[in-house]
């Protein structure tokens, strides 16, 4: 089992992580606004099972907003 953790308030909504995820489960949470007024990226709870912990999203994140477990 693998998983990712998003530090919502570090995210600037740049969307780069959404292009890197090989499983296509990283997406922008349009219902949420973080403290900077951005829609942060996230992985929906129901999609977390598909995460393989490859850390592609974290690698391309410019703000160290993503932690990965495996």
């Amino acid at each position: 089992m693998a998983g990712v953790k998003f530090y919502i308030d570090l995210c600037k909504g740049c969307r780069l992580c959404t292009t890197a995820c090989p499983k296509g489960i990283v997406a922008i949470d349009a219902e949420t606004l973080n403290s900077k007024g951005f829609h942060p990226a996230t992985v929906r709870r129901e999609d977390m099972g598909k995460c393989i912990g490859c850390a592609f999203c974290a690698t391309i994140c410019p703000d160290c907003a993503i932690e990965v477990e495996r």
Partner: protein, 298 residues
């Protein structure tokens, strides 16, 4: 489950001020990861540029000196000569390094200073809002090339790695990019290798990292990554332009004297900092004065 990816220790907890999608944040992380993995954070002394990364001392946990625009390689030279055993690196943008600081980077490299340069090339001046840089591509629109860069008006882009590769002293010169997971991972390997070469005292190392500037390019972060791939890499091909690690190790191992063995070339300049065990006391001064007189008479 184990954490396999998190913010490296060598980065502080201060969130980056960079624009959304700016690759400075990625490159800062790569430098910090390299310091962590090599156990060098405690020995590292960084030199910050003038540009978007002017205050990278708020992000790196190691000691940092902020340098005047373009002068980071000279500041780093001063630091390294005082602390030859420490890991000294400059982190510079293309305005800082390829425009006002061209003399400093060329001569620090030519002297074979045992420092590492992380050169962030995004083909534009970011901090001052989008002016043309020496690395701006032909045809690229900026606030000071409003109808696109034209050779007859603005001259041609400068390929720093290729230029420095004409010098004897540099041991390792590589250009990488920060616009994809694959490229980011190879960028990290390059930065880590540069630090390893410095730790071994072998000579000058530089890694040029092609980067994006979504705000001043006027594109989204995702479009910027694509633009880099399709335009910058054509002008600035990725790859290793110099790797004399083996030769440098060999001549260092052959005990070619402190300061010698700066890469290939028989007459490798004795450019490295002598192990500056400062001679205490003033005995040295007195007979130096006499010697001074003889020298002058000589």
């Amino acid at each position: 489950m184990k954490t396999v990816f998190k913010k490296p220790h060598a980065l502080t907890d201060t969130p980056f001020h960079y624009c959304p999608g700016c690759t400075h944040g990625i490159i800062h992380r790569l430098v910090a990861e390299a310091l962590d993995e090599l156990g060098l954070e405690g020995d590292a002394i960084g030199v910050a540029p003038v540009g978007c990364a002017y205050n990278n001392y708020e992000y790196f946990n190691c000691d940092v000196q902020q340098a005047a625009h373009g002068r980071a390689p000279a500041v780093a030279t001063g630091i390294k000569r005082v602390h030859p055993g420490k890991i000294v690196f400059t982190y510079q943008g293309d305005g800082d390094l390829a425009a006002i600081g061209t003399a400093e980077i060329v001569h620090a490299a030519a002297r074979g200073e045992r420092i590492t340069t992380v050169f962030v090339n995004n083909a534009i001046y970011g901090m001052t809002s989008g002016q043309m840089a020496p690395t701006t591509l032909l045809g690229q629109v900026t606030s000071t090339s409003p109808t696109g860069r034209k050779p007859e008006l603005h001259g041609y882009p400068i390929n720093i790695c290729e230029m420095l590769a004409t010098l004897d002293a540099p041991v390792y010169i590589e250009r990488v990019a920060s616009n994809s997971v694959k490229n980011i991972n190879s960028a990290k390997r390059a930065i880590k290798k540069a630090f390893e070469i410095q730790r071994a005292g072998l000579g000058y190392t530089i890694v040029e990292v092609l980067s994006t500037c979504p705000t001043n390019w006027g594109m989204s972060p995702i479009e910027s990554m694509k633009w880099l791939e399709e335009n910058m890499i054509k002008r600035y091909p990725l790859g290793v332009f110099r790797d004399r690690t083996a030769e440098a190790k060999a001549s260092a191992a052959a005990g070619a004297g402190v300061g010698a063995g700066n890469g290939a070339g028989a007459e490798a300049g004795a450019a490295g900092g002598a192990s500056a065990a400062a001679v205490a006391g003033n005995g040295a001064g007195a007979e130096a004065a006499r010697a001074g007189q003889e020298a002058r008479n000589g």
